[in-house]
């Protein structure tokens, strides 16, 4: 028996029996694969066969197809003789929104497995594929990892078409394009590359397609599969591909000349190129007043610094450079550490690991129990550990502030990366003091300075410094000042500059 790969390349024949044998050989018998025989126009001499996958195909659409082939065909073909071509049936009989003839088995089988219905008729040398996708979807919900107070609440779902529609609703620009690709030898996952034709960085779409086209993988079960196979720095702990569940973020990225990669079966959309500072920015920054947006953005930058270096600095000061701590503070810390039997580095590592343990347990457990674990872990165990003299109260405060700061970083994946980076920094500070801290910190800084995301420097616009882009980096300037796109966009000027509002002058009032 020929291999399935060879069978897939075969063409359909006029003989229904041969075609049925071909499809059966490829798909085999499967509980969810449905095969329905029918007589074209009720004439038993011209039989037909219909394949669909239950659960993927909408049974109402399948019934409509059958009604057209059995009942309507008889009414519209009273005076005609014999079956026509597949194209005639598609154009003259089927009223479905999307249907097409298909000559190769591969295309037909892929369509059936995607939820379409395959129609084959005796004497017709081609098959017909009618779009009948209609599985149950998760309804649109608020993104779990990217909450906001003001602004749209809709998040992406697992359906690629729903997701692209979310963006199309926001950008009714005829130049918005979705290019289609399929990735995964077995999963045949739909991938759409979205961009605005006259804004996107020149050559970026081609580069994205080239990288995605290079992927050879069995299946794509989540966007991270693609992310790891297309990123610039595969060995780096830093994310050079941004992911989001928010349609407004994607729309905003497209307006900046970036590319969005939609992947079927996942609510995460990838954005490239990406810059480190974007992980500190939240949608709320733009939806609140710019003073508020700027203030909270600065708070998040402080949170970034705290979550990265606070435990390291504490350990470094206590272990090596206690003379740098103001005397009254040093005495307070010393009194708390008096009964602690561990060196401060070990104490910090234990506490950090305990914190990560509680975080992980809180995520993995069912929601109500997860909350209980967090409360028990943070309050009761923390308090008990201090009373037992295992850890100092100051260390509990340091670890708690560090943990809270890491949660203040809007991008969950980036906050995880920063948590991981914290450990080598902590160990270096605890073993070599200022020298260890400086060595690891500058090695990390050099690494961050060296990496790129789809040709763009990861730390831009800070390094290389771009004065114009500073309006939306640490500060969030007012909307009427945000009149420029990043310098890689084709059109760097946003529509509508110089719109600073002002009260009408007396003459304007009339």
């Amino acid at each position: 028996m020929p291999a399935i790969r060879e069978l897939l390349l075969e063409a359909f024949q006029p003989s229904l029996k041969d075609n049925e044998a071909l499809v059966d050989a490829i798909l085999g018998s499967s509980a969810d694969l449905k095969k329905r025989k029918f007589a074209l126009g009720g004439d038993t001499a011209v039989s037909g066969l219909l394949y669909y996958v239950a659960g993927l195909a909408d049974s109402k659409v399948v019934e409509l197809i059958l009604r057209a082939l059995v009942v309507q065909y008889r009414e519209s073909h009273r005076e005609k003789e014999g079956p026509e071509t597949a194209d005639d049936i598609v154009t003259g009989l089927l009223s479905n929104a999307s249907a097409k003839s298909c000559s190769k088995a591969e295309e037909a089988i892929t369509s059936v497995l995607t939820g379409d219905t395959l129609v084959m008729i005796e004497g017709v040398g081609e098959a017909i594929v009618v779009v009948s996708r209609g599985w149950e979807d998760r309804s649109i919900e608020e993104p779990v990892a990217e909450n906001n107070v003001r602004g749209p609440r809709d998040g992406f779902t697992e359906s690629i078409r729903t997701n692209t529609a979310h963006v199309r609703r926001r950008l009714r620009d005829p130049r918005l394009r979705f290019d289609e690709m399929v990735v995964g030898e077995r999963s045949k996952t739909d991938v759409n590359i979205a961009y605005i034709e006259d804004l996107v960085k020149e050559g970026l779409v081609e580069e994205v397609k080239r990288r995605i086209g290079r992927i050879r993988i069995d299946a794509v079960l989540e966007s991270s599969y693609i992310e790891e196979l297309i990123e610039d720095e595969p060995l780096s702990p830093l994310n050079t591909v941004q992911n989001t569940e928010r349609p407004d973020k994607v729309a905003s990225a497209l307006l900046e000349g970036r590319v969005a990669i939609f992947i079927d079966n996942t609510p995460s959309v990838l954005l490239v190129p990406t810059f480190f500072w974007q992980y500190i920015q939240a949608s709320d920054d733009y939806y609140n007043h710019y003073w508020v947006g700027t203030f909270y953005r600065i708070v998040r930058y402080v949170a970034l610094i705290i979550s990265l270096v606070l435990p390291s600095i504490y350990v470094m000061l206590i272990s090596f450079h206690h003379e740098m701590i103001p005397t009254s503070l040093a005495l307070t810390i010393a009194s708390g550490r008096e009964v602690v039997p561990f060196p401060v580095l070990l104490e910090a590592l234990l506490m950090e690991l305990a914190f990560e343990l509680m975080r992980e347990a809180g995520i993995r457990m069912p929601k109500p129990i997860g909350q209980a674990v967090s409360i028990v872990g943070s309050l009761i165990i923390g308090q008990a550990a201090v009373q037992a003299g295992i850890v100092s109260p100051f260390m509990v405060i340091i670890v708690a502030i560090t943990g809270i700061s890491s949660f203040a970083i809007p991008s969950y994946s980036s906050s995880l990366a920063i948590r991981i980076i914290r450990f080598p920094l902590l160990i270096a500070s605890g073993t070599l003091g200022l020298l260890g801290f400086a060595t690891v910190f500058f090695a990390l800084m050099l690494h961050a300075l060296s990496i790129r995301s789809f040709g763009e420097s990861y730390l831009a616009p800070a390094s290389p410094f771009r004065a114009r882009d500073q309006r939306d980096m640490v500060l969030r300037m007012p909307m009427w000042m945000l009149d420029g796109r990043p310098n890689f966009a084709q059109d760097e000027d946003r529509i509508g500059g110089r719109q600073r509002p002002k009260p009408p002058t007396p003459t304007e009032k009339g």
Binding site: H321, T439, L449
Partner: protein, 376 residues
Amino acid sequence: MNRIRLSNGMFMAMIVNMIYAKAIGVTQGTISRLIGQDMWIATLLGTLQGLLIIYVLHWAMRRLPGRRITDLPSLGDALLGRWFGHLTALILVGFFLAGFGPIMITFVYHLKDYFLPEVPLAIFIVSGLAVGAIGCYYGLEVMGRLALLGILFIFLLNLLIVIGSIDEFDILNMLPVLEHGLPNALFASVHFDADWALAAMMAALVLPHAQDGLVRGGRFGAAGIAAGGVAIMIWSILEPAVLSAEVSSQYTVSCMKLARNAHVGTFLQRYEMIMIALYSVPVLFEIMFTLYAVSACSTRLFHLKSDKAAILPSAIALGAFGYWIVEDHFRAIRFLENIWPWIALPVAAGLPLLMLLLRLLLQKRTERAAPYPEEG
């Protein structure tokens, strides 16, 4: 070939970083031992000499029709042939190898004497070179970006020292002016000249990679030297005015004494660690670039395909020399004050002047024999 691109800002920032780390403390201590409170005058005179040499270097390296000039050794190639290019590269290897001594004195004595007296010396050398090797591996462009960041750090460091020292600023400590006379101040400026010498030779290797290096490199180089001079002069004014020249002259690293003395109110009595953290960028940049320079020139000397292959051997050579220098404080000071300026100045001033002279004499012949006449 991938062309390295440094913006003009990066080029200027690299010059400032290359001068700053040693000049604010180690050099000021040496100068104060020679001319007391006139440290700032020696620094000013040194800066003016630096401006002159950077212009000479640019005149020597400016665009040569039909020739692809990538660094000073390649200019040597173009003027007198390959042997001269190799000789220039060899001189630069020796220059940066010797220059690594004072850089390590700066790096190690700041950290070891003031923060980590019990940590073995080798750890300092290995840590500094490890970061330097990473920077070298990533290349000139990343170093340029780090230098830009270094400018921000230098600005913050200067701001902190001014805030922490302004209360004790006493202008009377700076009087009388020119107590030892102008010739002595000029002679003392040789020690600051040795600092910009490193920056000038760095420019000799990177000038053509800067955006407008071959056309307006002199102007940007001079701006870098001037900016560095201003940033350093803040220290050369504060040290005699706050500590007094007498006290400054007692320390190898006089800037640390000033930093330790700085305080904000009564709560923040000591914050020199913050300052040293900010100071790390320029000093690590110096280590990084020295390693880059030695490996790049060695690549040319030994006909290696990539300068990455030369990083490890260069790091070992620099590490061994650096260790030998800083191991003994007396040896370190002797090298710093009596040997290094007399290596640095002849090379940093002599090489550009020689190249300029050769260029003026041989320009027409060089243009006639140009392999890329169309490139103009």
